[in-house]
């Protein structure tokens, strides 16, 4: 790799990292309040992408819309995918997790329920929308907007990073500054005590899922714009994003953002350095290394109980 190529890999890395970060937040939030690896979050991501596809195809079936229509479509896609993601996550919590909580099920039962939900949603989507890949319409024709030291940045990259950053800033505000945020933090720290203090745990958990699902759905839409859609599209980004959440310190929101960015950039640079096929090895090697030296992730646990 030449030094002048660094930006060529850094910019896609940042874009991918931003997406991972947004998905990782979904995992980290749920882990924070439930201490549960929400395996089905990757399916929330997939549902977001497909719902946007449905909406966009319904609004404008052409594959190459004009710039003005594109703006409209992006807005519609963001709204629909966010809503669908939030709705899926909400339903997921209601059907697959809440009854288990009511029964004091062991934590591993939640894990299996999550795996079951993931299986179910994935194959349902495969059935409904066909098991072939699908593409969202090419918005903006991937035009370059500007160049940084000779490296082109496309509208799509800009859009993804902006949307991700906006969501992350919004979430940070929400968690640290609002009443709901303090509820989430309280439940994450000690659900029992929070309940005794008058926090409605069910509601907090439900809303946590909605927030995570909203972000996951939008990430799905953005990822669909960037790559394409298939019913198994959630699996790999989901696993990587969860690794990112752990790298940053699971339960720690800023940690998830950092972990996502880190893994995205590492993956992007592994292509010129080790070859593309070692991409995931590098991501997981980073994970193992980080955990060896900092067993609770880079920033440590914050939302969750301290180890």
């Amino acid at each position: 790799m030449q030094p002048d190529e660094i930006l060529d890999y850094l910019i896609p890395g940042i874009m991918l990292g931003a997406l991972y970060a947004v998905i990782a937040i979904g995992y980290t939030l749920v882990y924070g309040v439930l201490q549960l690896i929400n395996f089905a979050h990757s399916e929330v991501f997939m549902v977001g992408a497909y719902s946007a596809l449905l909406a966009l195809t319904w609004i404008d079936p052409s594959t190459n819309p004009t710039a003005l229509v594109s703006v409209l479509l992006v807005a519609a896609g963001l709204a629909v995918s966010g809503t669908a993601g939030a709705a899926t996550a909400f339903a997921l919590e209601k059907v697959a997790y809440r009854p288990l909580r009511r029964r004091n099920a062991p934590r591993l039962a939640f894990l299996i329920s999550a795996i079951g939900a993931s299986y179910f949603l994935q194959n349902l989507a495969g059935k409904l929308f066909g098991r072939d890949s699908r593409a969202l319409p090419t918005l903006f024709e991937n035009k370059k907007v500007f160049s940084v030291f000779g490296t082109q940045v496309t509208i799509l990259q800009l859009l993804i990073v902006c949307a991700a950053v906006l969501m992350m800033v919004g979430l940070d505000y929400l968690v640290n500054r609002t009443k709901l945020g303090s509820g989430i933090r309280a439940v994450a720290q000690d659900a029992e005590t929070a309940g005794l203090m008058g926090v409605d745990i069910d509601k907090v958990i439900s809303r946590t899922f909605i927030i995570g699902g909203f972000m996951g759905g939008i990430a799905g839409f953005l990822f669909g714009l960037h790559l394409q859609l298939s019913f198994t599209m959630g699996f790999l980004p989901g696993i990587t994003a969860f690794a990112a959440a752990v790298v940053g310190g699971v339960g720690n929101i800023r940690g998830a953002m950092m972990g996502g960015m880190l893994l995205g950039i590492v993956e992007s640079f592994s292509s010129p350095i080790f070859g593309e096929s070692w991409r995931y090895v590098s991501a997981f090697a980073v994970l193992v290394l980080v955990l060896m030296f900092r067993p609770t992730g880079i920033l440590g646990e914050r939302l969750g109980r301290s180890a």
Binding site: M15, L16, G126, G130, R131, D132, G198, L236, S271, S277
Partner: protein
């Protein structure tokens, strides 16, 4: 959590308490069972094919024979299996509906999940059914490798529309019942290399494979042939379902290669094409039959333009017979035929053809195997003939180019290159 009552005020959700689940779930479970049975009925109707078609209703004493089908019908790689299943099913249904068969034909599918772990038992299911006289499939090379010893032992012929790994017909394997219904990867890789080196006369080629058995096989042949022709080769592997084709596209652009080959399927070829266009790589781009699919163009949009796609299949899209096939297929399965649908249709017809040649004789598995090995059948896509080791006879590779959103036929590579 028992929160004070007034906290529930105005909460629509809070009323959905445990009771909902208590009632809704048994209902869901019961209905699940019902719907499972319901879809089973559908499945049976589907499976029996045209056995209730008018032409057959009179023949009470006609024997019944079954054509087996093995491919991945569930899981991640199900699409290819479904394409092939539909093609073969259509052939069986049409043959039954015609009514001139001396027997009633049935179609039995066995799902191997495109996994070699499940392949052996999937094969056994067909072997156990003594009515099965020939099998179409398995779709992928891995499951084929796993199941072929069992098929060979049972002397049950398998004709695969899409398992193109060259090593399958290696005599050491003793896969004596395996017949390949498509030219293997060597033919296409060689064709690409020839076209690049002789016709386009490029100096440096970047070869990318998708880390699947198909992609690795194809890229290896292409690399070997290109090196032989004195072309510099750079290569990398991008596992399929990679989240970002940006870095590899940049890498290709920066490598200074004149041309590139992608050995993989259209699902990943399409986003790759988009990113290559974004990265500004303008050299000739090649891919094989895994990408030669209308879906490639619809997924990649403009970015698919100018891609060269090779295929062992001649352009049959304009022929009346193919059009008829497309219409019938669409009518039956609500969707257009896709990769290997037509090949599978052809192979099913080839098998039916051989079954007919038994006439009044009893059809045996061994007899079918012998007959299939000596068969010659002209289908929609190509003429099917087999070599002694089960290899497809004939390795003509044709080349296509995407122009204006359509895959346009260019011709036989050997003829285009001129020797």
């Amino acid at each position: 959590m028992r929160a004070p009552n007034f906290f529930y005020k105005g909460l629509g959700f809070a009323v959905l308490k445990r009771r909902v689940i208590k009632i809704a779930l048994p209902i869901a479970a019961a209905a699940l069972v019902l719907s499972a049975c319901g879809s089973d009925d559908d499945g049976d109707k589907k499976k029996d094919g045209g056995s209730t078609a008018p032409g057959n209703s009179g023949g009470g004493n006609k024997p019944t024979w079954t054509i087996g089908f093995q491919a991945g019908l569930s899981g991640e790689n199900a699409q290819l299996g479904i394409n092939e299943e539909n093609g073969a099913r259509l052939a069986v249904e049409q043959a039954n509906a015609k009514g001139d068969l001396p027997f009633t034909l049935k179609f039995k599918t066995s799902d191997d999940e495109a996994s070699e772990t499940k392949s052996v038992s999937a094969a056994q299911k067909l072997i156990d059914d003594s009515n099965v006289v020939a099998v179409i499939g398995p779709a992928f090379s891995g499951p084929t490798k796993a199941a072929s010893p069992n098929y060979a032992k049972a002397k049950l012929a398998t004709v695969s529309p899409s398992a193109t790994n060259p090593s399958l017909t290696n005599p050491e394997n003793n896969f004596t019942a395996f017949l390949r219904g498509a030219p293997n990867d060597n033919a296409q890789g060689g064709g690409m290399a020839k076209y690049l080196s002789k016709k386009l006369q490029v100096k440096k080629v970047f070869v990318v494979d998708d880390k699947t058995e198909y992609g690795v096989g194809l890229s290896k042949v292409a690399k070997d042939e290109l090196t032989k022709a004195g072309v510099q080769v750079v290569s990398d592997s991008v596992p399929k379902a990679t989240p970002d084709y940006g870095p590899i596209s940049t890498k290709i652009k920066n490598s200074g290669a004149d041309a590139m080959i992608y050995a993989g399927y259209y699902q990943d070829g399409a986003p790759f094409a988009k990113k290559l266009k974004e990265a500004g790589f303008n050299g000739p781009k090649f891919s094989g039959d895994g990408t030669n699919d209308a879906q490639f163009v619809s997924l990649a949009g403009d970015a698919a333009n100018d891609w060269f796609l090779t295929c062992p299949c001649a352009d049959a899209n304009v022929e009346a017979a193919t059009k008829q096939f497309t219409d019938d297929y669409k009518k039956r399965f609500n969707t257009n035929p896709s990769t290997y649908s037509a090949e599978s249709f052809d192979i099913a017809n080839l098998v039916i053809d051989q079954m007919k040649s038994f006439g009044a004789e009893k059809i045996t598995r061994e007899g079918m195997l012998t007959k299939l090995k000596g068969a010659s059948y002209k289908g929609l896509t190509k003429t099917f003939k087999f070599k002694q080791n089960g290899e497809f006879d004939g390795a003509t590779t044709f080349i296509y180019q995407v122009k204006g959103g359509k895959i346009g036929y260019m011709g036989d590579i050997d003829q285009l290159v001129g020797g």
